[in-house]
Amino acid sequence: MSVASPIWEMFLQKIDSATLLEHASLIYVRVVPKDLLPALTFLAKDDAFQMDYLKYMTVIDWEDHFELVYHLYSYRTNLECCVSVEIARENPIVASCHHIWPAANWHEREMYDLFGVTFSNHPNLQRLLLPVDWVGHPLRKDFVEQDHFNGVSTTRNNVVKLPSAREFES
């Protein structure tokens, strides 16, 4: 399904601020944050697309901004595309799309946990993988790991670098 096919033309008229590009045979729909939700609902509900399967949602940290990627696929029309949107790095707020795909519930919680992206009207936005009292969001590029967590040191001295390594009796 190349980019120039009629379906995508119809999509562009519907969501005019979107731009299409292609990486490694995967169609990217770059969208402005304002009409992220309309684009997603259109892709999910429209009978030309019927993208009912949200493969995953992820955030890419480009040092100056976040890029939020939704990878969608549809079982009926065998269409696949990535909707991506650029959001600010400092406390980004995005509308949650768990009402369209319930699968998004846990993906959004993981994004909140590892990147710090808060999703508005999410039913239960808490940390998913990390302990409740963890400070910071590890997958961000500027994350610095404290050397103690609840009194447990998080670093192990690199034995190899010490000069006095022991003799190996082969």
Binding site: D52, P102, A103, P138, L139
Partner: protein, 376 residues
Amino acid sequence: MNFETQYINDRQMELNMGPQHPSTHGVLRFIVTTDGELIEKVVPDVGYLHRSIEKIGEKVSYHGFMPYTDRVDYVSAMTANHAYARSIEKMANIEVPKRGHYLRMLADELCRLASHLIAIGTYPMDIGAVTPFVHALREREKINDLLEELCGARLTYNYMRIGGVSFDIPQQFVSKTKVFLQEFAIFLDELDRMLSENTIFIQRVANLAAITTKDAIAYGLVGPNLRATGLHYDLRKDQPYACYNELDFEVPVGKGEQGILGDCYDRFIVRVEEMKQSAKMIRQIIDNLPEGPIIGKAPKTIREKDTSSYASVESSRGELGFFVVANGTANAHRVKIRSGSFAAISMLEKIAQGVFIADLVAIIASLDLVAPEIDR
């Protein structure tokens, strides 16, 4: 997830199932509010096995990341290798020779057998029958011996390289696989007699936590769990990769023999059928292995400029995909791993309502959840 144990009312109590519990597969924890036997609400608490493999992906070169992909799903590690290799090959458009594809398929199918053996072994053990588990492990040991001969390791293989595979098959590998396939057929027949028709097993498992196809797709369920709901979708058939189109095999789909379509029994039967299909495929692969090199031309250090690629493989727990974003340096900018168990456990809260505690254990086992895939 804040869990001060509130005192709900005099009829309900909060039960902590896991992370040290005999029947949570790997390190998972379930906060169960129950009145003793019937479960009112299950809240899974994950993250005990979170090693942040995605952060390691940003620190290690493309070739160096391959051993870490084994650790994403250590029960069927070959499929994770295969998915990562395909994603990088797609990005840097590297050609894999035909024999390389065939060896990859052989390793994938052997690993699918090993993983399903664990799935159908631990499933009856959680329901009480201990012997099938030990026999399933005995068969899995034979597969581990074969894979050990092929690539040198038993669990975390690191067998595939970007552009192909690292070793060719040793001399008597084909005859040893044939001997294994015969013994495996005997085991499958025993398994049917011991479990698939056993009334206690059927009573315990039929009509339990049935999932409709619509809900499964909405929650992103994949693999045998999705096929058990009746949807005929398999990556190897619908988006064929690595010469799967040259093999002939059927995709088993749940038929609702013992009760509602998509219940725990269907998930079990779909996995047993898949093992038969995989055994058939292995026989076809070792019969007509093409000649030729086993690895294509892949540059020593891969440097890709701001492209990203996603490739997925039908692992034993459904679609396992790697989304890799490159930024021109020798290391990947971002590696996102999409795994089957993550979707399955996010659905547990919905399907495990109003069941018994004994059934919750059976549902967890039927979804074939594996902790490393959920927490990555």
